[in-house]
């Protein structure tokens, strides 16, 4: 822990691609350094029918960034009379983060989404000042991100169906958080398909 601001509250999130589906998952711990305060603090936010964002880092910034992004997306949808696309949401988020380039928010972000018409999948990640990534197969953020990344790479196969995707995502997340004292205490997984979104709660090791 020490005095690293990005691990003050802990938490982790992961997003993975399948065939015409994406999964985004996070843990539920809210802690202050080594003390766990709550086990219902999820880090995933929905901004459209098929657009999700996960934010990990300092809890206050997770809340503020998610709310300020909601402000912008609400106005976008009203002004433009159109639904958000994942790439647009991603650019809005990174733009928001870069606005604070010299006094940044302490959150790393993941954006996951789907185009319901074409089935095209999107997974992007960003650092806390809005560095953009390519559209990747797998992305992780948070205190256990390295552990989950390793497992994710192992379990990932191209063109997984929703069930395989759920298994790969869940196993990577649950086993990764076991190596990190600042993450865990339960998890949630969203599997986003063209016609439905499934939310599942996972019970892992409660420590």
């Amino acid at each position: 822990m020490g005095d690293d601001i990005m691990s003050y509250n802990g938490g982790v999130a992961l997003a993975m691609k399948g065939k015409e589906c994406v999964a985004i998952a996070c843990d539920k711990r809210y802690g202050v350094q080594n003390r766990t305060i709550a086990t219902n603090f999820t880090k995933i936010f929905q901004y459209g029918d098929h657009c999700f964002v996960a934010l990990c880092g300092l809890a206050t910034d997770v809340q503020t960034v998610s709310e300020r992004l909601k402000f912008r997306t609400n106005l976008y949808e009203l002004r433009e009379q159109r639904k958000l696309k994942p790439i647009v949401l991603y650019n809005m988020l990174t733009n928001l983060l870069y606005e604070r380039r010299f006094g940044p928010y302490f959150v790393y972000a993941l954006v996951a989404g789907l185009d319901p018409k074409t089935g095209e999948t999107f997974v992007y990640d960003s650092d806390n000042i809005g560095a953009i990534s390519d559209n990747v197969n797998l992305a992780t953020v948070g205190t256990a991100s390295d552990f989950i990344f390793g497992l994710g790479e192992l379990f990932f196969k191209p063109n997984m169906n929703p069930d395989e995707l759920f298994e790969a995502t869940s196993q990577a997340l649950l086993n990764g958080v076991d190596r990190d004292s600042a993450s865990g205490w339960g998890a949630i997984v969203y599997v986003i398909e063209k016609d439905k979104i499934t939310l599942r709660e996972l019970k892992g090791r409660q420590d």
């Binding site: 433009e80 159109r82 790439i87 647009v88 650019n91 733009n95």
Partner: protein, 235 residues
């Protein structure tokens, strides 16, 4: 100038009109004609571009201007005011791109440009723009073309086809008769040229009119050679 005047120069008359805007519209209606027609798969903008003198090198100044990949403008009224609006519109389009990484949809750009024009009817120490704009664009999400008119007041109107500038009443009457929902872009270009011809004095050549088209590929101004071909087809 505007920082010294805290009050607007555009004020209401007892009858409820903003006379400065009426006068601005007079400036527009004295300007050279411009026409816009929306077809099934695109939009055409056309305008008269007469030189005052034979010595003018008229191939280097343009009235039909691209704003970004999918949007173009033409005007009637005061040239210098138009130039400013083109610069502002281009900047607005790029600002949108910077935030959203998307080409600005025509509807959104029109709103922003119209807001700028409205500002100049309410801010201190400035006068309204002496131009009406015809803005054409292609919206990639809705997969269809758009044509809008922006007035000095800041109002904007979506059109299927319209004419602005000198003799615009005749132009619109002509278009009402000629317009059909099933027009293809090629036919729309012909119709636009014919509409301009109604109020044209003298011989129409590829150097004294300008045409721009916007379709799914984007907006572009026709070269004089292409304009010459269209004119030849009209005969």
């Amino acid at each position: 100038m505007s920082e010294r005047y805290g009050f607007s120069l555009t004020t209401f008359s007892p009858s409820g009109k903003l006379v400065q805007i009426e006068y601005a519209l007079n400036a527009v209606n004295a300007g050279s004609p411009a026409v816009g027609i929306k077809a099934l798969n695109g939009v055409v903008l056309a305008t008269e571009k007469k030189s005052k003198s034979l010595l003018h090198d008229d191939r280097t100044i343009h009235k039909v201007e691209p704003i970004c990949k999918n949007i173009g403008l033409v005007y009637s009224g005061m040239g210098p005011d138009y130039r400013l609006l083109v610069q502002k519109a281009r900047k607005l389009a790029q600002e949108y791109m910077l935030i959203y990484e998307q080409n600005v949809p025509p509807t959104q750009l029109v709103k922003r440009v119209a807001d700028v024009m409205q500002e100049y009817t309410q801010s201190g120490g400035v006068r309204p723009f002496g131009v009406s704009l015809l803005i054409c664009g292609y919206d990639y999400d809705e997969d269809r073309p758009f044509l809008y008119q922006c007035d000095p007041s800041g109002s904007f109107f979506p059109w299927k086809a319209t004419a602005i500038g000198r003799n615009f009443v005749n132009g619109k009457t002509f278009l009402e008769k000629r317009y059909s929902d099933q027009l293809a872009l090629e036919d729309a270009v012909h119709t636009a040229i014919l509409t301009l011809k109604e109020s044209f004095e003298g011989q129409m050549t590829e150097d004294n009119i300008e045409i721009g088209i916007c379709d799914k590929e984007g907006f572009r101004r026709l070269t004089p050679a292409e304009v010459k071909d269209y004119l030849a087809q009209i005969g």
